[in-house]
Symmetry: C2
Subunit: 424 residues, 2 copies
């Protein structure tokens, strides 16, 4: 059910990250200090696992009461796109390891912090490269030489029009500075070009006239290969891939995922090869989510997150060491001897039905009545459309059974969400 | 691998505990407030699972930086044996549910709080009965009518001498007010009586001249049956037992455990019957740890904890819903539709090698090199002999393999523990 490699030697070796020798106790001693930049639901699970491993966790985000803040030792609210604020906090808290959890961070400042001797995981350059669709695509296609969809870049609507004509319709317009679905749209005919260009150029992390245009891939499956760069018992760095995670989404944002997604072995081997090739170019230490399309017997690289991936929420059920436990273990400098068996499981998001503060939930009793289902509610103080407020995670005797139960539980909760204080 | 019953109707029904309908968000809204009385490693895992289910967690203990305090929303340091302090905190924090995690609580005040309308789990009377060896043994033997070892009670050394003569040597002296191994000793000959009497009468939670004397059971296996009283999807209360947990200890304190412990079905059925009979007499909602001896085809009830049990730390590896996740789910008023499959796993404690503050750990890298091993370090600010500072938990293809790995990892860490500040 899982695939593994022992790949070593990388373009971008870990900097400052070392196998962890003696360490102390949080709050009263010399525990490893882990600073989360971004404190959402992914960060919350990383925080829990880091605390279980003996770390002192400092949670940072741009708003109060973010999920990871609610379990961390200390929390700070700062704009992480403000380089001075970021540096000041790092210099006052002295983290042993800085763990970016989101993209809205001044990644140039992360590079400077790293060169000043602070440790950023997987490494500062990987956080900068992966949030730039042009750089990561060129790294994959030209440096790691893995197959991708056809693609082009355009700085104006006119250039975008020419690229679209070359690639053919439908094609996909994407902003440069995002790896999520924001700003993305499928362009089915020339009349939709102008609006799609506007969305892509304005919908990224920062407005940018340069956009990416990509062939529309008629895929059979969309897959995430969670890939861990980690220490071995011998103190070297190895890369281990997890069983493929399948996912499906009605729009462009993460909606449901399952593991294992089974493929004939040539496809499985190619998924592993691509995941290892790309992550070894990015280097460093920690969990990556490598997104690929499967089309017949072909596999195309799409994107990569230098951190635990949304679709990997399913590993809360499918793996004893979830992607969060593995990320915490790796970035704290501990070894791993995976891979491990996978249990059939699925995860299904619980979305905010609208805008308001202090969400209330009514369907949790019904959701938790289903055998094999667990709910993770994120405790986010505000909701807005498409914001994840929780996830239902299910085990089943088959992946399909787990998917059905997770969906039913998620919908039972989602359909009952209200706000104590609705938006004005 | 698991056993289940649908038992309903109890001597002591849940009071104030109801299936949970609509609830809000921690810190900004009407989340269920869960107050942990006792904030050790058991409480830490309960806190994590309660937060994942959307609760606001208040951790209380008699010392600062206790494990559960490090993940809770708020923490308080009070003497929980001080009834006024306990009541004042409850009245200021307004918990929806009070979750005793240890025995050093004024349980008479819990009974009064419950009668004033506060919710205590599993119920206040169960917390009072189970910490009194005489009351729980009489409840089991005389009311639930389950088999136990032969036993007697003595108020003086002279009475103890007569009881020991009746029961024969060796016999076991135990304090009345403790369910752990403190104050317990095996008396092999009359010359050891006086010291054993002193230990038992002074070694309980409070000094008490009355002690318990018990036949020495030459058992083949010592077993915990985790037993959950929980809501069903229909809103009734049911009792579900987990697969038996085997455990072994060099002394009287918890040391290692594994799950599943396999027995021929008459023994397995009897374990289930005893666990359900005793917990249904105690009633309420939540997890119980029912301890039994197996001797040939006989099963004898020994003790019961009205909360997750130390030996159940193995369920972090063996069950998708650990005993902590199930306790949180049940006491928050959510249903369960177990039982679920069990994976072969084991847990092995990491003990403090001496007395000091701010323990440091040197063998974690080696422990985590072993396949299938995870470490849980508790972040306790101080160590003293026999205090648990962590646990190694392992999965294996067999229970024996898991036991070997957990022991190896635990010893790798334990043998390297030092203190940043040693005891003077």
């Amino acid at each position: 059910m899982t695939a593994s490699t022992g790949s070593e030697g990388t373009a971008l070796a870990p900097r400052g990250v070392r196998p962890r020798a003696r360490f102390g106790t949080p709050l009263v001693g010399s525990a490893p200090r882990l600073m989360l930049l971004g404190s959402g639901e992914i960060g919350r699970e990383v925080a829990i696992e880091a605390i279980r491993l003996g770390a002192e966790v400092i949670a940072v985000d741009r708003y109060e009461h973010a999920p990871a803040m609610q379990v961390a030792h200390r929390a700070y609210v700062i704009p992480m796109t403000d380089r001075a604020a970021l540096r000041a906090l790092v210099e006052s808290e002295h983290p042993d390891v800085i763990v970016p959890e989101i993209e809205q961070i001044d990644t140039n400042e992360l590079v400077r912090l790293e060169s000043d001797g602070w440790t950023v995981v997987p490494n500062a350059e990987a956080t900068r490269v992966t949030m730039d669709r042009e750089r990561i695509r060129r790294l994959a296609a030209e440096s790691a030489r893995v197959p991708t969809s056809r693609f082009a870049f355009a700085d104006t609507l006119e250039e975008a029009r020419r690229c679209a004509a070359d690639l053919g319709f439908p094609c996909v317009f994407k902003s440069i500075t995002s790896s999520s679905g924001h700003g993305m749209s499928v362009v089915r005919e020339p009349g939709a070009l102008a609006r799609a260009y506007q969305e892509a150029s304005e919908g990224g992390r920062v407005p940018n006239p340069r956009i990416m245009i990509e062939e529309f891939v008629r895929f059979d499956a969309e897959v995430t290969v969670l890939t861990l760069r980690h220490w071995t018992s011998a103190g070297t760095v190895a890369t281990t891939t997890m069983a493929p995670i399948g996912h499906a989404r009605p729009g462009t944002l993460y909606h449901e995922s399952w593991q294992p997604a089974e493929f004939p072995s040539p496809v499985g081997d190619e998924l592993t090869r691509i995941a290892v090739a790309v992550t070894d170019r990015l280097g460093g230490i920690g969990m990556f989510g490598v997104e690929c399309f499967v089309r017949g017997s072909d596999v195309l690289f799409s994107e990569v997150s230098p951190r635990p991936h949304d679709t990997g929420l399913v590993t809360l059920a499918s793996q004893w060491n979830s992607e969060f436990a593995l990320h915490a273990r790796a970035v704290l400098g501990f070894p791993y001897s995976g891979p491990e068996p996978t249990s059939p499981a699925a995860a299904h998001v619980i979305l905010s039905p609208g805008t308001g503060t202090a969400p209330t939930f009514g369907g949790a009793f019904r959701g938790l009545s289903l055998p094999g289902v667990r709910l993770f509610l994120f405790g986010k103080p505000e909701g807005f459309p498409d914001r994840r407020l929780g996830v239902a995670v299910a085990r089943g005797s088959t992946v399909q059974e787990a998917r059905t139960k997770a969906a039913e539980a998620a919908h039972a909760v989602e359909s009952t969400i209200r706000f104590e204080r609705a938006a004005p």
